[in-house]
């Protein structure tokens, strides 16, 4: 009797969980499917569940919409900004984790507070500064801004990872004659590599998907994928198949990236709140 009830319970739980998962994932799935439809198929009512898959929309996106131009901008900006943020945050997180002073905690909280400043609050000066320096619609401008906006979160995340490194191991390095530089590069960094990887990963995702500065500061030359997709909000967006194909192409790289590394990522995202 109880075993039967336990089985029923398991089925109910599995059913509920799968229903939620499918419901949450459905829009993405539908987007991918629509990308393989012809335009008339895509807007047929009721929607066709069975259709002849075609690559015509993808061909069109590649051919006419210069997808590669935007994708290349996205890759270049995300990678450069992530590397810059990591390089800046490693020494800062090291100092906070292993050489704490009276003001360390205050500094960390202050850094976070700078991240809380809403971008709109400084939209005007940044826009004018960028215009003045000729950085409007330039990759450099976005790289600098993404590096700085992500820096506090990167420092915080690395700080929580570094704090998990047993201090005696670094002390052993010092006893063995390692200089500060050797201590960081030969002992700490190899040990914290998974943490650094997931920090870089989060930075990549945040940069790739960022849609405030990219929409406001770029239009064509340096525009990354979010700007590219936003251009579909005009009536052109009613070409559902093309919109879906373009969106799928914009999302796919980071989505696959995220799937493969979700375990790494989540460890860092809990910011030490989960032991």
């Amino acid at each position: 009797m109880t075993r039967k009830r336990a089985r029923l319970r398991r089925i109910a739980i599995g059913g509920a969980a799968w229903a939620v998962a499918l419901w949450v994932f459905f829009p993405i799935l539908w987007m991918v499917l629509t990308g393989f439809k012809t335009e008339p198929d895509a807007i047929s009512t009721p929607p066709h569940l069975i259709f002849h898959p075609t690559l015509s929309s993808y061909r069109e996106v590649f051919a006419r919409e210069t997808y590669w131009h935007f994708a290349l901008n996205s890759v270049a900006i995300s990678v450069l900004a992530s590397i810059a943020a990591i390089l800046l945050s490693i020494p800062a997180a090291y100092a906070m984790a292993f050489l704490p002073g009276r003001r360390t905690r205050g500094t960390l909280l202050w850094m976070l507070s700078t991240r809380m400043l809403p971008p709109v609050g400084v939209l005007v000066p940044i826009y004018l500064l960028a215009r003045g320096m000729g950085l409007l619609d330039s990759r450099t401008g976005l790289v600098v801004i993404y590096t700085l906006t992500n820096l506090p979160i990167m420092v915080w995340m690395l700080y929580t990872f570094f704090r998990e490194v047993p201090i005696p191991i670094l002390e052993a390095g010092r006893m063995d004659g390692a200089t500060r530089w050797q201590e960081i590069t030969q002992v700490l960094l190899p040990l914290a590599l998974p943490g650094i990887a997931s920090t870089g990963l989060l930075s990549m995702i945040l940069c790739w998907n960022e849609a405030f500065w990219s929409l406001n500061l770029t239009s064509s030359a340096a525009a990354p994928l979010p700007t590219f997709i936003a251009s579909f909000s005009s009536p052109e967006g009613l070409f559902f198949a093309k919109l879906s194909a373009a969106s799928t192409l914009a999302v796919a790289p980071i989505l696959v990236f995220g799937w493969l590394s979700q375990k790494q990522l989540v460890r860092g995202l809990t910011f030490g709140a989960v032991k």
Binding site: A42, T45, A95, L109, L112, M116, P125, L269, T270, G272
Partner: protein, 306 residues
């Protein structure tokens, strides 16, 4: 890390304050990040403050000079501003309630074992990786379009009249879309937190006669409090700045029904070219963010203690 490291009694390794020389080195290592952030946070802030008391329009060179608090007065008495403020609060609050509430329940659900749990989990966290412009267009066109949208087709299939969600209930629909984006984040973090709960604690509670509800209330929920703090803080940072979703779907409309503070300032600055007014809005946004941040950071500071 290896097993032995996990067993070190904490008291046995007294870690004091590092020596003065080492701390000086620490300040040196810290300085690049600190200086950059200092410049990044102070220069634009000062400029915003300056512009906010100036008469300054990008396309109207006749508007110059000191405006005093005029820009603020103009902004604060503008009914659009109050609407935007309220909309911001509804958007942030609504999404937080939905994602944290639903996220907690779903985290408990996904903590149970069932066939295909790994795949289901990957599916449910996917929206987190979708860029805001894509999710906004996805919902606006493919899902909620009053004629071609899947949801409209579903409503027709059961004999209902499809609703043009984004023009009838723009703010509620935006809350729904943004919740869809952030629910995965809440589930991801809270699920990890639940899985870190000591199994013996749950077993001890069961031995004490706690049913599933009592376990949730007295064991799981208190254990999750720190993780929930983190979820709220991170989400608030991003929710206060929601922009692309509005820009792509409703453009703040109809009227200002779905305009939040971010979008209002954007439209003042880059659509109406009113730098002075936009800057005053920016200062208000910063003040509000600081008030919120003060509360959140206090909670986070408590997390850092442990």
């Amino acid at each position: 890390m290896d097993q032995a490291a996990g067993r070190i009694p904490v008291a046995a390794a007294p870690v004091g304050r590092p020596s003065r020389a080492r701390r000086t080195g620490g300040a040196l290592l810290l300085s690049p990040a600190v200086i950059l952030l200092l410049v990044w946070s102070l220069v634009p802030l000062a400029m915003t403050l300056w512009y906010s008391v100036r008469r300054y329009n990008l396309v109207d060179p006749t508007q110059v000079g000191f405006a005093g608090l005029g820009n603020y007065w103009y902004l604060l008495t503008d009914p659009d501003f109050l609407t935007a403020l309220l909309n911001t609060a509804i958007l942030v609050g609504g999404v937080l309630v939905i994602t944290v509430g639903l996220g907690t329940l779903l985290a408990v659900l996904f903590d149970q074992s069932f066939p295909g749990r790994g795949i289901a989990r990957v599916l449910v966290i996917s929206p987190f990786f979708v860029m805001p412009t894509v999710s906004a267009l996805l919902w606006k066109n493919l899902m909620l379009h009053p004629i071609y949208g899947v949801y409209s087709a579903m409503m027709r299939a059961v004999g209902l009249t499809p609703v043009d969600w984004l023009s009838r209930y723009p703010l509620a629909t935006l809350v729904m879309i943004v919740s869809w984006e952030w629910l995965p984040f809440a589930i991801l973090i809270l699920l990890t937190a639940i899985q870190s709960l000591d199994a013996e604690q749950k077993e001890a509670a069961r031995m004490d006669g706690a049913g599933p509800l009592a376990q949730f209330r007295y064991i799981i929920l208190p254990h999750l409090s720190r993780a929930i703090t983190v979820v709220i803080m991170i989400e608030t940072i991003f929710l206060l700045a929601v922009f692309a979703e509005i820009s792509v779907t409703t453009a703040g409309g109809p009227g200002v029904a779905s305009t939040n503070l971010a979008f209002l300032i954007y439209s003042r600055a880059l659509l109406q070219f009113d730098v002075g007014g936009a800057s005053a809005g920016g200062v208000v946004a910063i003040v509000i963010a600081n008030i919120v941040a003060a509360f959140l950071l206090r909670a986070v500071a408590r997390n850092l203690e442990a």
